[in-house]
Structures are given as structure tokens and as C-alpha cells.
Symmetry: C2
Subunit: 357 residues, 2 copies
């Protein structure tokens, strides 16, 4: 029922994704009278789908707490998330209210063992291909431990989606050195370096302009700056698109040039098409939930479904679970070690501690 | 002596700015043997300039603390800042090491009365013209009071540069509601609304994509997210530029189209030219210091000089001083008022307090 267009876009989107992955099966949670007529238009999809009728639908402008109070146990959003919990579904994809979806997902699925807070991961198009950026809005002001958890989860997602064996992970930071307030980021860097995990190549700090360059496979930051970065990039792309449009219709020479280069412009538009990378993935919960853009069209919603398919096929959840466990085991050992060092007060050890700190 | 090219770019830049503003006078701080030969090439500029020889130059990779220790009292950077303090110069423009420039500026000029921490303001090209964005890297994790000070300073700068009488000010925030950690931003919003200053039209929260749209004249945020936003936008613009270049040389039709539309492309490049908006302004100090991009060319450095000229001509500093005083007076009254309310424990007043809080 979510998004700007509801079943009128979500059902055609599912039909597109089914073409690409014929093994998919769908559960549609929503009002029977809205969903059924749309499904009638796609016989193949209809054969692969069931409708679970729900009377209540969370509205796009409901506050998360309000949605949780009024829609828990019964809304289409809740029921869809619950299907992941019960195992009826492998993944839940929604174009609905982000805040409500996160609140309900946390309440219903709970965070994984050893994970304090969830993150939203986005796929970021870069000059080298694609990167994963997290958190883009779930955990404002994450601390060092949470940033490390995000790194581990993001790397697992990169291995599942981008198919690199040891993804390069960078922590987003500002270039100006010796400035107050990056303590969490510095501390997270130290933790990652010390843990030396087999599934992560820790690169160090990256800056805002490294996002588009694709300097690393996974960029980790807390939710406030991640959300600002994501929306700033979207805004800048739209801004340049506007400039380009205005420029190319300015003179008849430009318009003629545009006619010749139309194929090239179409390729550029494809490249910049946000539908191709639609979907924010909620990481750190006991189940996969994907948020599709509310304004996405069928092709965009299909991209979010495809991503869910990829992550299930690549067993993302069990990979994250294993990596997080491994990390906490190593970190436990490392902190036992440093406690030992602290208690043994020999001057040589103090010197060592200073050097590695 | 700063920047990637030193006097070889800075001196020609000054010559360009002098053409536009013949009333300008320049003091060049640096090694006589490097600056003098460059000045020889521009007789008009030479006549309007003095060289202050300095043996020491801060290096681009010096750490701020190191630069301060080694370059205080004697480096060209310090001397240039000091000239603002003594009144020998109205404004200091440097293409050097940002961290060192900020550290020295704070040490030498000190923050203004009632201002706790400085901010770096950038000019942001938007679909509607230009906006001012601050802080882009001086104060990481600014609190509510500091965000309000930034708003007052940014608005004063907007009135000086963009020549709008009551600039629209927005606080950068994330769209997801009811999420932890935006307390400083919410509190800053409340303070701005309550103060109701004559020189500021407080708009409310804006998001990352509002930067490019030009939704407000002044966007205020703390230094971490501001720096990330600035560099993300620069990176995205470069990324799209790369796509465009690759696309337009892909086929002969595209290349032909490019030939016809070359004028249009040149206009677009001009529009996206970062040199046109070069210069980060240090606000909140007892003097104006402008940081030009280290990689800027003569035209870019001239843009930073022009900005300094505009700010001096429009008496930016005294405007900021007046506004900050006015704000603190109003805020003082407001907090006296709320203290009175708190002590007067009548139920009606409690109700009022609840409504306005």
C-alpha cells in the first residue's frame, strides 16, 4: 500500500522482477480490492502471488510512533515485516513511510545479537562501479562500536552484492586534521585496524569526494552525515541535470547538437538513473527489510526487489551474523590483551602501549 | 607562499582582481626572491603592492599545532593574519594549509565577544543563484548555541554579499522524524524562532537536496556534516562531468553533436566552474580571513580576493557584531522571561510554557 502510487506501481514492479527471476514468489500485503485488480493484469505474476488482505495501511505522513501505536499487529506494513519473522517471506520490500518501516522492523524483528543499533545501507553509483554507503539515516550520532558494527555489516553486504572477496572499507571523515569531535571515528578506525578481520580490508578515512570516486567498496558513517551526503549527492545530480537541460535548449546550434548526441544523452540519463540503484537496506535486524523510494516507478521497485533476491541468494544475514561474532571474539581477545597490558606496569610495555594507541 | 603554486598563481590572481577593483592595495607576505619576480610582470599591480619579506613559510602538510609552534610570530601566514589584527590590512586571503590558517587565525585574532567557536562559510551555487553554507569544517559537533551564532553570522554575510535584506535561514537536518540525536538542531531552531531577529527570516529545517535547490539563502550545520556535504557535492559534480565527457566521445554521432553544442557545453562548464565561487570565509573572529582552494588558478584566487573586497565594502564584521549583540540581548530577555515563568507556578502559566516549549 506504500509509496506515492501503491499497488499501481508495486504490482507492475513485481512483474518486471519476476521476468528476471522466475523462481520468485510474492506475498502482497494490502487491501484486496486495490491489489487484486492490478494482479489481474499480470497473469504470470498472479500465478506466483498470494494476497494477504489487511484493513489498515500506514500513511506516508504518519509519525513512526503513531504508526506503531495504530498499525502494530494489523497494518499491511506490520504484517509484511512479520512474514519475515515467521519465515513466510525471505525479505520484505516496502515503498512506504521510512520512519514507520524502521520503527516497526526494529520492534518486530529486533536487532541481531551483538548489534546495538540498525543501519540503512544505500548503493552508491561511482566512477568505478558501485559502493555501499551506510548509515544513511537510522542511527544518528553512532559511537565507535556502532561504526565498527556498520563496517562489518556493510562489508558482508558488499561480499553478497558486489561479489568482492575482501571489500575495502573506509570511514567517512573530514580532511581537516587535529580538530575536535572525530573521536568516535578515530576510535572506530583503531578498532577495525586491531581486529584485522579476514572479510574486511580496512582502508582508513575517506572524505566526501571519495564517495563518487569509488575509492572504497564500503563507506561507513553515522546516520546524520550519511543522510546529508546521500541527499546532497541526489540534489547535486538533479541540479546539474537542470543546468544541462537549460543549456541544451538555449540556442538552435545546441538543439541541433542535442539531436545528434541524443543516444549519448540517453546513455548518460541511464547512468544517472536513480531507479537503477533504488533501495535502502535495513541492516542489523533479524531479517532483511528493504525500503524502496516512495516515488519509484515499476522499474525502480523491481530494482529493490532484485536487490532483495540477491541478498537472500547470497545468504547475507548468516554472513553478517558470522562476521559480527568473529569480530566480537577478536575484539574480546584484543581488549583482554590491553587490560593485561594496563595492569602490567613495566616501562617497556607502557612505551609499546603509547606507540600503538 | 601557500597553495599548490605559490606566488606564480597568487600574484596573477591579484592582478585580475585589481583590474576589477582599482581601489585595492596589496600586501604580499612571503619570500622576497619568489614574490618580486612575479610582481615585475604586472607593473600596475606592483605599483599597488608592497612585499613583506618572511623567511618562514607554513607547508601544506604541516599539522596545525606544528605550524603554530614553528610559524608563530614569523611565518608569512602569521604575518598576513597579524596585519588584519593591527589594521594594516582589511582582510587576509591565503591559499595555504587550511588547518594551520584556522589555528593561527584563532590564536591571533581571537573569537568575537559572545562567539564561542568560529565557522567556515562557503558560497554554494544553486538553481536559484547562490547560497551560503556554514560550517564546512571548523567546528565539529557544534551545539545549539553555536548553531544559532552561525545562523546570525551567515545571515549577516548573506546581507553583505547576496544583498538580500532579510535572508532566509535553514538548519540542515535529516528527513526521518523522531530519531534520536538531532537535539542540538531542534533546540537551535527553537532559539531562532523565539529570538525573531529583524535580520533573519528563519525558515526551519532543510535537507541535503535543498542545498542545490537553493531553498534558503543560508544553510547552517555543524562542521562535520557541512564538510561532508561540501565535498560530496564537489565529488558528484566531478563524477557527472566524467560521465558526460565519456558519453560525448563514445560514438561519432555524439562527437558531432558535441561540436554543434560546444557553445552550450562551455556555458555549462562555466556554470559548474568551482573557481567562480572560490573561498571559504572564517567567521566569528575579530577580522576577516579567507581560505582560497590550494589548487585554484589565478581566476580562482581573484574570486577569493573579490569576495574579501565585497565583505569589507559591506562592513561585514560590524554587521555581525551588531547582530550577535542584538541576538544575545533578545535571548537574555527570553531566558529571563522563561525563568520568571518557571518560578511563577500558576497552572495557566504552566500550560503556556508547555505550548511554547
Amino acid at each position: 500500500m506504500g509509496g506515492d502510487f501503491g499497488p499501481a506501481v508495486l504490482v507492475p514492479g513485481a512483474a518486471i522482477s519476476l521476468e528476471r527471476h522466475p523462481e520468485l514468489r510474492f506475498l502482497f500485503f494490502g487491501k484486496q480490492e486495490f491489489v487484486a485488480p492490478e494482479l489481474e493484469k499480470f497473469p504470470k505474476l498472479k500465478a506466483a502471488s498470494d494476497i494477504v488482505h489487511c484493513d489498515v495501511a500506514v500513511r506516508m505522513d504518519d509519525k513512526p510512533s503513531q504508526a506503531l501505536r495504530q498499525g502494530r499487529w494489523k497494518s499491511s506494513m506490520w504484517k509484511a515485516i512479520e512474514a519475515v519473522k515467521t519465515g513466510d517471506a525471505d525479505v520484505c520490500v516496502s515503498a512506504g513511510n521510512t520512519g514507520a518501516l524502521m520503527a516497526m522492523s526494529r520492534f518486530c524483528l529486533r536487532t541481531m545479537a551483538d548489534i546495538e543499533r540498525p543501519a540503512i545501507a544505500a548503493i552508491w553509483p561511482t566512477l568505478r562501479g558501485e559502493s555501499i554507503v551506510l548509515d544513511v539515516g537510522a542511527t544518528i550520532g553512532a559511537d565507535a562500536q556502532q561504526l565498527v558494527d556498520f563496517s562489518v555489516m556493510g562489508a558482508a553486504m558488499a561480499r553478497a552484492l558486489i561479489e568482492t572477496r575482501k571489500p575495502l572499507v573506509g570511514l567517512l571523515n573530514v580532511g581537516v586534521e587535529e580538530i575536535k569531535g572525530q573521536e568516535e571515528v578515530k576510535e572506530a578506525g583503531r578498532l577495525l585496524r586491531d581486529a584485522d578481520l579476514p572479510g574486511i580490508e580496512y582502508h582508513g578515512f575517506v572524505e566526501g569526494d571519495d564517495l563518487g570516486k569509488g575509492t572504497v567498496d564500503v563507506v561507513v558513517t553515522e546516520g546524520f552525515s550519511g543522510n546529508i551526503a546521500l541527499k546532497t549527492a541526489e540534489g547535486t545530480a538533479r541540479q546539474i541535470g537542470e543546468y544541462l537541460r537549460a543549456t541544451m535548449s538555449h540556442t538552435w546550434m545546441a538543439r541541433l547538437g542535442y539531436l545528434f548526441a541524443r543516444g549519448a544523452f540517453n546513455r548518460l540519463r541511464d547512468k544517472m538513473d536513480p531507479r537503477k540503484v533504488n533501495g535502502g537496506v535495513f541492516l542489523g535486524l533479524n531479517g532483511i527489510v528493504i525500503k524502496s523510494h516512495g516515488g519509484a516507478d515499476g522499474e525502480g521497485f523491481a530494482a529493490a526487489l532484485d536487490m532483495g533476491h540477491d541478498m537472500v541468494r547470497n545468504q547475507l544475514l548468516s554472513k553478517i551474523e558470522r562476521d559480527i561474532k568473529q569480530f566480537h571474539r577478536r575484539q574480546g581477545r584484543a581488549s583482554d590483551f590491553s587490560r593485561e597490558e594496563e595492569t602490567a606496569q613495566s616501562p617497556e610495555k607502557d612505551e609499546t602501549a603509547k606507540k600503538t594507541s
